[in-house]
Every structure is written in C-alpha cells, then in structure tokens.
Amino acid sequence: MISTLIAKYNYWIYITLMMVGMYAMIAKNNLVKKIIGMNVFQTAIILFFVSIGAKQDATIPVLEHSHGPEAHTVRALDYINPLPHVLMLTAIVVAVATLGVALALAVKVFNRYHTLEEDEILTQIREE
C-alpha cells in the first residue's frame, strides 16, 4: 500500500485536482465560476501529462554542452521526455483559446438575460 502510494501519488494528486475542477463545472451556479472550474480542470490535465514524462535523476530537455569542444554523445536517460511538454504546449494554447471564447459567450448571455446565475437564466428561458 505504501509502496503504491509512493509510486503513484503524483497521478492521485492531479486526479484530485481534476475532480475539484469538474465539481466546480457541474455544481456551481454562476457562469464565471463554471468557466474557472473548466480552467482548473485543464490545468490539472496539463500537469498530469507533464508528470508522465519525468525520469529519475534526469534534467530538463535542453541539451547541455552541445556546442564546442565539450560536445559528447547524448544519452536519452539524462533528459526527461520532451514529448509530453510539446503536447501540453498545444493544450495550454487551446485552454487560453477556449477561455477567451467562453468569456465572450458569457458577455453575450449577460447582455441577453441580465444575469449570470444559471437558475435565473433557466427560469427566464422557461417563461418565454
């Protein structure tokens, strides 16, 4: 049990953060709080993926001593996996893009219904 905890605790922490974001998206009433929950969820996914690429006793994926007379052969064990970092750069950009469009939609919803609370919006929709 303890060895499983030590081996896997990074995944569990990020799953907990994901679930916090998911609860905010589902349960909160205000639209802006839901958007913040979406952002927390996306951040947790990004951290989860980046933690997959870690290696024991390895340094950041920027080659050291690559130019000049000290250049030597590169061992893959010395550098952490760059692929999750690259994929998560895309994910960060997508998170910013969806945040911008979500806020624009929230502005339009407010202009139409004059409230950002989900239950008041549903009441106004049902009365139409």
Binding site: T4, A7, K8, Y9, N10, Y11, W12, I15, T16, M18, M19, M22, Y23, I26, A27, S51, I52, G53, A54, K55, Q56, A58, I60, P61, V62, L63, E64, S66, H67, A71, T73, V74, R75, A76, L77, Y79, N81, P82, L83, P84, H85, V86, L89, T90, I92, V93, V94, V96, A97, T98, G100, V101, L103, A104, L105, V107, K108, N111
Partner: protein, 276 residues
C-alpha cells in the same frame, strides 16, 4: 451541497484512481512513454536540426504540422471573439465623464452632447475605473519597453533556453494589455489599432503556412525545412535551424495579436469605447 454532483465527481475520481493501478511508477526511466520515439528525438535532435532545446525542436520541426494547426486554433479563437462581440453601433445615450487634467476634477457631460476628444485640458475618463493614479501610470510606462524586450528575448532564445514562439508572443501581448490596464483601452487601441492586430494575427498563420509551402515549391514535403538550404545558402542542418526560427516568429506574431484582440473585445464588450 449538491449531492448528485458530488456522487458523480467522487465516482469518476474513484474510477480514475483505480485505473492508475496499471500506470507505470512515477519517474520510471523505462516507462512506455519514454521508450519508442522519444529517445530518437533526444539523441538525434542536435545532429539533425542543430537546436539544443529539445522541446522547440520537436514542437517546430518534428511535430511542426501539429503546431501549424494550433496556431490556426488560436487565430480562430480571436476571430470567434471578434465575431461574437464586436458591434459598431453606439451605446444608448448615456452621460460621459471627462477629467480636467491639471486639477483632477471630474466633469459629467449629459447624454447626447460630448466634449472635444483631443483637448489638452480635458481627457475622457472611464465610468467603471478611472486610472489616473500617477504611480501606476509611471511605473507601467517604465516597465512596458522592458517587458517587450524580454518577450523578444524569449522568442529569439527559444533554441537554447526554454522559450519560443508561444511564450514570447504571450509576453508581447501582455505588454500591450498592461498598457490598456494602466492607461485606458483607447490609448492601447491608438498604439495598436484593431485593423493592424487583425492583420498581424492572420499574417502570423500565413508566415507559418508560407514557409511550409515554400518547402513544397522547392520539391520536398510540406514543412521539410531542409528544402530551404539552397535559397538560404546554408547546409541542411542550419536550414532546419533557421526554418524553426522563422516558424516561431510567425507563431509569436499570431499569438501576440490574438491576445490583444481577445482582450479588447471581452474587456469592452465589443464597443471599444471604455475598457476595464
């Protein structure tokens, strides 16, 4: 306390934690994610592209097609915000506030009439927040050129230090958003008009796709930067190095302009007269 939502969240979390039983241990050097194609990128990157920063080499060269469409995604988000929000009709008649520059007195002009915009004695003040604090204005005025220099440094040193197109573009966009926050949105729009920022974001994507198309016109595959070697008079490894730099410049242009477009439209709800 919403019990249904809590049950859903707890059961999903429980299922995911149960699924981590099959995951490799953390920081395992021989995990499946680090085994198949990743060692090739790490070992061959310097001799094939000449870029020490492995993340930039993989992002802009080995997985450059993916990054092209990511740039298109951020451009599309800017267009979506513009199309959703931008309106060119005036707000309904409401009074405007003007500040006397020398004494700080606020004058309210009733709906329908307005003062001369470019007067030297009066300046327009925003209704929600009137940023006339001298400390904020002066501090941001000193900081903004250095922020822009730092953004350009992050973009240019993307080959050797962590950095690159996205990071540098966001820093450059943040410098203009700081100008909009410390002065007002009209000042930032005067510095970077909407037309220029729209054209800049589109031309960023065009630079990226254009470099790829030039490679096709020279006979190689799309985004194969080694094709640029004859026209740049360098060897293929250096051509890939320069191709990565050109592509990152395109990305930085697109990201900077899109940040400004999204901020301008969301902060002023499309009217572009009074910002946050």
């Amino acid at each position: 306390m919403k019990w249904a939502a809590l049950m859903v969240v707890l059961s999903t979390g429980g299922l995911l934690i149960f699924a981590t039983d099959d995951f490799p241990p953390w920081r395992d050097p021989h995990s499946p994610a680090s085994e198949h194609v990743s060692p090739r990128y790490i070992e061959k990157s310097m001799e094939e592209t000449g870029v020490p920063n492995l993340v930039t080499a993989v992002l802009a060269d080995y997985r450059g097609y993916d990054t092209l469409f990511e740039t298109a995604v951020i451009f599309t988000a800017g267009i979506a915000c513009f199309l959703l929000l931008r309106t060119y009709r005036e707000k309904e008649k409401e009074s405007r506030l003007y500040r006397h520059v020398h004494t700080g007195l606020i004058v309210e002009v009733e709906a329908g009439s307005r003062m001369r915009e470019a007067s030297e004695h009066f300046e327009r003040a925003d209704r929600l927040w009137a940023p006339d604090d001298l400390i904020i204005r002066t501090a941001c005025r000193i900081l903004i050129p250095f922020i822009q220099l730092f953004g350009l440094q992050v973009l240019a040193n993307g080959h050797h230090t962590p950095g690159g197109g996205f990071q540098g573009g966001v820093i450059l966009g943040a410098s203009l958003i700081l100008l909009a926050l410390s002065r007002d949105l009209r000042t930032a729009t005067r510095m970077m008009p909407e037309r220029i920022s729209g054209l800049l974001s589109a031309s960023g994507v065009l630079v990226y796709a254009g470099i790829g198309t030039v490679c096709v016109l020279l006979g190689h595959s799309f985004l194969d930067y080694a094709a640029l070697a004859p026209i740049l008079f360098v060897d293929p490894v250096q051509a890939r190095n320069l191709g990565i730099l050109g592509v990152e410049i395109g990305v930085a242009m697109a990201v900077m302009a899109t940040m400004i477009v999204i901020y301008g439209n969301v902060a002023s709800a499309g009217y572009y007269d009074e910002g946050l």
